[in-house]
């Protein structure tokens, strides 16, 4: 089923998630995953941030620590992000995004050279089979030495193999949970599978490779301000009952992030 009317939206089953995080280091224009590391809050952070597989990768789900568990949807129902209420009580200009992390591989050393095989599919977490919504990141795990360059081979959104980012200079050192976006090859809009990971230039640091789908983004213009988006403002992004939803934030410092969101299914 799909929610196709206001009536169906009103009748949909709701779940609320009162996310809260403080004490995590964020700095600058890059997003930082608030799932784990030194931050605290609700849900409790995760002590494990490194990926569990370098050779195959893994598909994170809502059962992992640091993210909320999503109650199973009704039989045949589809789920949607219906409401986001975001604020930062103490710091201005903190941008936050909600992502469903679809794939994670790591942890890789700064000089990794890894070809992946038997990668698990995340197709069940792609709405309507449209991979053009996917984004590629390097997620730092430890503070690196020297700026990291990466070359990531992948299968593109249409299933074409042999695509590559080329050697991309991220322009930064790896830091714990720092997400550095990796641009895809010209003409590509997404990816279905990560095929290879090569690190270079840096002389220290470890990282994951992340594929994620953005659900929402918002900004707190002034401290204690906020952004309150209903379903129509959000555009009804689809979520799944095993979605691994994280909040990634960027800014001069983290402050106290409160990001309550609601999922409906019907």
């Amino acid at each position: 089923m799909t929610i196709r009317s206001v009536d169906e939206f009103i009748a949909a089953v709701r779940q609320s998630f009162p996310f809260y995080r403080f004490g995590q280091t964020i700095s600058g224009v890059n997003l930082y995953n608030t799932r784990g590391g030194q931050g605290s809050g609700h849900p409790g952070s995760s002590s494990t941030i490194a990926g569990g597989s370098t050779a195959n990768g893994e598909v994170p789900t809502d059962t992992e620590a640091g993210v909320f568990g999503i109650t199973a949807f009704q039989s045949g129902a589809r789920g949607y992000l219906a409401n986001v209420s975001y604020t930062n009580s103490s710091v201005a200009n903190v941008r936050a995004c909600l992502y469903d992390v679809l794939f994670r591989a790591g942890s890789y050393n700064f000089n990794a050279n890894q070809t992946l095989t038997s990668q698990p599919s995340f197709s069940s977490r792609i709405p309507d089979g449209d991979y053009s919504c996917t984004e590629l990141f390097v997620e730092g795990l430890s503070t690196g030495t020297g700026n990291l360059s990466v070359a990531i081979g992948y299968t593109d959104q249409d299933g074409n193999t042999g695509a590559t980012t080329g050697t991309y200079a991220t322009g930064g050192v790896t830091q714990a949970l720092r997400w550095m976006p990796i641009p895809l090859a010209a003409g590509d809009s997404g990816l279905r599978k990560v095929e290879s990971v090569v690190g270079s230039v840096a002389t220290g640091g470890t990282f994951n490779v992340i594929v994620a789908r953005r659900l929402w983004s918002g900004t707190v213009a002034i401290a204690n301000g906020g952004q309150y988006d209903d379903a129509f403002a959000l555009g009804f992004p689809e979520v799944f009952e095993d979605s691994h939803i994280v909040i990634a934030a960027s800014g001069s410092s983290e402050g106290i992030i409160e990001c309550s969101y609601r999922i409906v299914n019907g």
Binding site: I10, A11, R14, P18, S40, P43, A65, S89, Y228, S260
Partner: protein
Amino acid sequence: MTIATLRDLRRARSFLYEFQKMASRTSVATFASTTFDQSGYPTAGTLAGSSTTAGVVPTDATTGTPSIYPEGNADPMYLTDVRYTSTVISRVILFDMLWKAGAYAFNANTALSAQPSYSGRLPNTDYALAEMWFEAVTAFTGNANVLLTYTNEGGTTGRNTTSGNVGYAPIAGRMYRFALQVGDKGVQKIDNVSSSIATAGTFNVLVMRRIWQGRVPVVNLPYLADFYRTGQERIFGDSALIAVVSADSTATGLPQLNMRGATDV
């Protein structure tokens, strides 16, 4: 019956609930402060908790919370819209106060037992919705360092909140939220309350469910959160609704909320 269509919503019986506070308290800029004990409507409640050993489950009969109508209604009720304003630039957050214990002394170390359950006030008995909060009853001297031991959402006992030392001495009415232990997603009950460092002050420990929040960016202008924005959050027939204010400056001001709840009666 559940409200399941726009027609149901339009035909539903609506009830108005109001917060109109007539006294402001000194607060800390951008941090939460309670309005529970401030005069106005509902009438001022008693801030200090009445039980340190078990806690209580406040209801709409608790002084300081609005009465939820109709009495005895078993049908689900939903928050459909909130019209709000305030005399200060602020955020206003509406909570259902699920459980309250206190008032604890600055040097408390209290094991709780026979805690009343609040599971009936959680939609789908989802303990991830339960937020743990500190609430200063009287001003502290010295930093608050409060640690809670709790039973998590899965029933695992012996879990501990993190980051006890907040690094400041809370003034009366100031609130802050506790952080769960690594890996936890919610709380079923609080089993122990301990406090240290401070040399004076008393506090409550609350468990609350977030119903709605809104921003007043310009004072005294009216704002509306319609039913899309409220998300039609569930209200129970005995919900103990309270308003918490996070002001941009150092006073909670006089928030005014006119809330509409709808039930299919």
